[in-house]
């Protein structure tokens, strides 16, 4: 990360311990959460995913205490969030929501500077941080700083939402379906950019989505939640795809979970055959997702494609069989980034 106007406060670990939220006594209505326990190490993205009404948003809102749990505790860097003064807690936690919730009466610059303003930073420091963050999320400060939210597209607004949440350099970010309101093309670009950003920032992130593909793409860890607010499975994306813990999880991740696992791997993960004659074979850069490579091989009707290494040199020939083998447990998944 480039020189920041703020100190870098790093990331915090997050732990749910037996967290329960009951609405109607004795029943489990939508949004209820039942004995949720999991641990997210500092700097990881944990995705809460599940069907609507499974309590994922409730779980997220219990972290910044927009909702108070009925039982259990949530620890931020080992400290129970309920022991922290609520506004101080919230200012230390970035919060991004689906509808963005930008303040329509404030310029983009002042929207980004909201939490620093609440925290009493000097005007000069607020402005320096605002300009830094707008650049960070890919918005030219000179063009956007003095505009109002209504003058921006949905994708631009969501970038501002991310910048605003990052403003006071919080050790934890809560993101509630942050990319669900934009069209699929913009969504994919925002996801990619956010992952690139996260590689620099290494924040701890709790991310809610109902979309299993988004969960697999964004998550270092995934918590699959079932109706009634139960934790159905917790683990790395590849684990959950390879070994669903229950019929529910298997159904939720989909019959194509094998193909989904391929999107977690790249050409660099696959065993190759000797080059031989490679005339007319398609070439795959080392970071091509195996899912895309397979799709191309099936269409290309060739014996395989040329796998390139990180320097762009041919490494060997990759075949459909080779890709299938990459899903075997013998080949360990290289963790990206």
């Amino acid at each position: 990360m480039t020189a920041s106007a703020t100190g870098h406060s790093g990331a915090a670990s997050l732990e749910f311990r037996g967290v329960t939220k009951r609405y109607d006594p004795g029943t489990n209505g939508p949004g209820a959460v039942n004995d949720l326990s999991f641990h997210v190490p500092a700097g990881a993205i944990c995705v809460l995913v599940g069907p609507s009404g499974c309590g994922k948003t409730t779980s997220l809102k219990m972290v910044n205490r927009l909702i108070e749990p009925s039982a259990g505790e949530i620890l931020l860097d080992g400290v129970n969030v309920q022991s922290v003064e609520v506004t101080a807690l919230r200012r230390r936690i970035g919060y991004v929501i689906q509808q963005v919730g930008l303040f329509p009466h404030l310029t983009i610059g002042r929207n980004v500077a909201v939490v620093p303003g609440l925290e009493g930073w000097s005007k000069a420091r607020q402005r320096a941080r605002t300009l830094e963050l707008l650049s960070l999320v890919g918005l030219d400060p000179a063009r956007y700083e003095n505009r109002y939210p209504t003058q921006l597209s949905g994708g631009e607004r969501q970038r501002v939402g991310v910048a605003r949440a990052l403003a006071a350099d919080p050790p934890l970010m809560l993101m509630d379906e942050p990319f669900a309101a934009v069209d699929p093309i913009v969504r994919e670009r925002l996801q990619d950019e956010f992952l690139r950003l996260q590689r620099e920032l290494a924040k701890t992130i709790l991310f809610v989505t109902h979309d299993i593909d988004e969960a697999i793409k964004m998550g270092d860890l995934i918590a699959v939640m079932a109706e009634g607010g139960h934790l159905a499975q917790f683990g790395q994306p590849d684990d959950i795809l390879a070994r669903p813990a229950s019929e529910f999880v298997a159904r939720f991740v989909g019959a194509d979970r094998g193909l989904k696992r391929l999107s977690l791997r790249t050409i660099a993960d696959v065993e190759v055959e000797p080059l031989g004659n490679i005339d007319g074979l398609p070439a795959f850069p080392h970071d091509t997702k195996l899912r895309d490579a397979l799709a191309m091989l099936l269409v290309a009707d060739t014996r395989g494609g040329v796998a390139l290494d990180a320097d762009g040199r041919p490494r060997g020939v990759v075949t459909v069989d080779g890709i299938a083998c990459a899903l075997g447990d013998a080949v360990p998944l290289r963790t990206a980034g």
Binding site: N64, L66, V86, T87, A88, L89, R90, R91, I93, Y95, I97, Q99, V100, G101, L102, F103, P104, H105, L106, V114, V115, L118, R147, Y148, T150, Q151, R164, L174
Partner: protein, 222 residues
């Protein structure tokens, strides 16, 4: 007709001093009524927002008051409170409720829920949220309520002329002109009252633009 011209300019020029005094009185009665009406309406609206079940009752009362003819209310109040500025102000204040309360409530209702959620999630205290988010976003509808109430009150002030010579603002000239069958006076009272209302309306449009620069940005974006 006796050959008298429709407008006797010599009369107007001979009475500029008293006419200006009446303009001043007219504005005083109107501004005071709107200011008091706004303060009370804000309290009523605040109650209606917190206790939603009371809102229909508040609206019902405000509307019921509004159905009383102004002429009748001034006349009836004289019996109770005598000939005083207080008597002139009470009906004017009461009539503002029906325009102000619903606009203030609608103004605060218009603040989007996602904006309130974001404000809470970012760590605004309740007070900060009210002053820095809810109030500014309610301004457009609150100001349009004030605009309506002011224009309507400026018109109604003329009716208070029935309380006697020392009331009524420009309404004095309308009533006096009627009694004396003197068109010039009626026109001076009526037209100046209209001019005041138009100016006030224009003033609120300007005020609204100054207070809510983001609304202009929205219009330009379309």
């Amino acid at each position: 007709m006796n050959g008298e011209p429709l407008v006797r300019w010599d009369w107007i020029f001979a009475h500029t001093g008293p006419i200006l005094d009446r303009v001043g009185q007219h504005l005083y009665l109107a501004v005071l009524a709107v200011a008091i009406g706004f303060a009370i309406s804000f309290v009523l609206a605040a109650i209606a927002i917190r206790r939603r079940r009371l809102y229909p009752l508040v609206t019902l009362l405000a509307t019921a008051v509004y159905t009383i003819p102004s002429f009748a209310m001034f006349a009836a109040l004289v019996v109770v409170t005598g000939l005083s500025t207080f008597t002139a102000e009470v009906p004017l204040v009461l009539y503002t409720f029906v325009l102000l309360v619903p606009n203030i409530v609608a103004g605060f209702d218009s603040v989007p829920q996602d904006v309130l959620d974001a404000a809470d999630g970012m760590g605004y205290t309740a007070g900060q949220r009210w002053w820095r988010v809810e109030l500014p976003l309610a301004i457009p509808l609150v100001v349009s309520g004030l605009r309506l109430a002011t224009v309507s009150t400026i018109g109604l002030v003329t009716v208070s002329a029935i309380l006697g010579n020392q009331f009524g603002g420009l309404g004095y000239y309308i009533l006096d002109g009627y009694h004396r069958t003197f068109t010039t006076e009626i026109l001076v009272g009526g037209l100046l009252s209209i001019a005041l209302a138009v100016l006030a309306d224009f003033g609120f449009v300007l005020l609204q633009r100054l207070l809510t620069p983001w609304s202009a940005a929205r219009a330009a974006a379309r």
